[in-house]
Each structure stands twice: as structure tokens, then as C-alpha cells.
Symmetry: C2
Subunit: 242 residues, 2 copies
Amino acid sequence: MRAELFLIPGPVSEERLADKTLVAIDVLRASTTICQALQAGARAVIPVEQPGEAAEMRAKIGVEDTILGGERKGLKIENFDLGNSPLEYTEAIVKDKFVVLTTTNGTRIYSKAASSNLKITGGLVNISRVTQKVKEAAKDLIIICAGEEGDFSIEDTLCGGMLLHKLIIENNIEMELNDAASLALLLYRANSRSLKQTIARGEHGRLLADLGFGRDVELATETDSIPVLPILKDRRIILEEI
Amino acid sequence: MRAELFLIPGPVSEERLADKTLVAIDVLRASTTICQALQAGARAVIPVEQPGEAAEMRAKIGVEDTILGGERKGLKIENFDLGNSPLEYTEAIVKDKFVVLTTTNGTRIYSKAASSNLKITGGLVNISRVTQKVKEAAKDLIIICAGEEGDFSIEDTLCGGMLLHKLIIENNIEMELNDAASLALLLYRANSRSLKQTIARGEHGRLLADLGFGRDVELATETDSIPVLPILKDRRIILEEI
């Protein structure tokens, strides 16, 4: 299996995604929020790039059936129902609703994934489910890390490295890696015994703690704690039917 | 000393550069070519972003005194005198000339460096000189890697990591690192005994070999082989006066 990892979404062309499995990773916090919202019973999460699009989408679907969620600079967007803290996405609020989500880094990845064969939302909270699905799909793999404002982020790179490590070591899959995938694997292996601390001490982890979202960082770094498999289909992220 | 490394030039603001030492790294090949041209006696290397600007600069300085150099997609630009292979920049061709240089990734860094205190061209060929100068300047450090078409490049990251390693280990400087700087240091330490091979096997190293520039990769990865200190002053890169 060939695996290409991208530290930020920028350089990936649509051509490169064709007939591959795409895993979109934004550990802090879009991936985690998407997993949480779907586990709490949301019918779908609809990723959009801009707050304006989110409002249009709500108008289209119907106000009653929609929850608007998302952040800019880490904080809830004006007139939105929820921010980007996974803890807000409880069953009481999101069950049977469509969650329209727009975040600074994470939700943008989905807009460029038209041609890939399978698009998975990957985080640490569902890492084993993602690994299993990538293996079953048996296609070449593209891992896109959301990064942070056009810069690499250590938590997404670690998560990508963990996925590669699990494919290689736990599943004995022979992988051909691009340079960034090798780097992610190295980073994961150097920090595998201190994932939570490394991420909490990282730039984004500290920023979120400063904003009062320390518990989100805790939750997002609890591996396999939300073992769901979110899949993008027709521009909606839904749980895979089993 | 605080050190921030950027895997690609994108996210660095001018504010962040103020009163700091900037090291611009493009191992394959702009940094190496700049070191080589200046060692071969060029009066200055003038980095410009676009081929059109290079032609304008030549008209301004005078055709006799100017060499136009640079590449797009690795190859010499039409109507230019030289490409971006350091081997082309011999004394016979560049001595006492102004070299106007435009490359896909490397020369762009210099256009954003207006506010930093000191701007150094860093490569593996002059890594010890760069380390010494960063130490003497005793300002906070910004390392900008050119990367490759908006993606990280392993050779620039390794070079940045080597600079940090030399500052920390050989010069006993206590450094506070951003996440990308920690990553670069980890990458360097994991590959310090196989730098040349790691870079030659990397994506960009292989691409250049395929284009017939394997000797450039050899030359660019020979540490301290061109021990000069190119400094950007008034938009020209010149050798530091000793």
C-alpha cells in the first residue's frame, strides 16, 4: 500500500486523490467533534467552509432540523448554536439533527475530496476503527492533516503517524511512504508513550487550554474513546452503515 | 534563545520577524547556489520572485554586469544565462557580476524578510558558519524552510534541525523551541549519521536525480564545503564583511 501524508491541506490536488482512501485528520478539534456529534445521534454532519454557507444550509434544510456549529479563533461564531467543543455535542442537543459545521482548519479538507474513493474522518478517538477501514478498503492512502492556520500541527501529525504505525505493525501491511509520512511515523514512535502530554504541551494544546478548553484536549487525546467511523457521502458526514 | 522553525514560508508574518535573526533554508538548491555564486566572486545575489522582475533588474543594473539565474520545475528559465545548479556558478562566469536569481521556492523567502534584524542564507554547505553567526547575534531565531511547492521538504527540515542541534549541543545554548523546531531536531537526530543518503532518497533528491542533477544533490549535502556567510542587505545577498 502506498501512503502519502500531507502536513497541511494546501498541496494536494484532486487528481492525487482519485481512487484512494482519504483520511482527514483534525484532532483539535473538528475530527473529535464530528465523531462525538455522530455518536450522540446526529443524522449527519455537513462540513462547510464559511459561516455564511452554514446559514444558507440551515435555510435549505429547515431551522428546526439544524444545529449550526463551529469556531473562528477557537471561539463560537456569532449566532451559531454551538462552538467546536466536542463536549457541547450532547444527545439532548444533536440527536436526529443535521449539524452544519465550519471550523478554521478541519472542515476545509472535505471541500477538496470530491474524487477520492472513500473519505474518512480520523482522530485519536476513533483511530482503531479508521485503521481497520483503511485496511479493508485496500486502496492507496492519502492522509490530510488540517494543521493550524497553514502551519503544521503536532497533534494531527502524531495521529497520522499512529495510523501508519498501526497499519504497519499491527496489521503487517507493507507501506511505501512519502517523506511527510515517514516524518509522521518517526514523530509518533518518538512520542507514543507520551501522546497526551506531548499534545497538551504543543502550541495548539496550550492555546486551547488558555481559552478554557483544556477538557477538550483531554477528550480528543483519549484513543479509541469514541469508536465510530464517520464517512463523507454526498457532502454529508454520516456513520458507516454496518 | 527562542527558536521558531517554519516548514514552509506561508504562515510567517512580518511582525514575527521583527528584531530577530532569520535563517532562510533551501538546501536543494537556492541556498547552495547562493553560497557557491558568492564564493566564486559574484558581487551580490539579488533574489527576485518572478522571471519578469529578473529581466527588469538586469535592465536597471546593466546587461554587462548581470547574470540571470534560476529555475522553474527544476529547469533553466528561457532566455536566462544559468539554471539553479550550483555547479554552473563558476568564477569564470560570475566573478564581479550581479547574479539575479529566481527559483520556485527558495528566493521567495527573502521578499518577506523586511523587518528582521539579520537575514542569513543557510544550507548544509555553510552550516557551521551560520551556527556561529546565529550565536554571535544573540537574538531570537526564526528558521524558514523553503519547502517544495507549498509542501514540507525533508532536506530543509533536516538542515534546520542540524542548526538547532549545533546551537544546543556544540554551543550549549538553551533553546525554547516551537513544535516545528522540535520536529526538525527529532528528524535530524534520527538521521544525523545518514544525512546524504536520507536526502538523496527523499522526494526532491530523487526528482533532481531524475532531471540529471544528481551531482547537485551530492554537492548540496556536503556539510561545510562552502564555508561562506551570505547576508541579505538592501535586497541584495552579499558576503559578510569580516
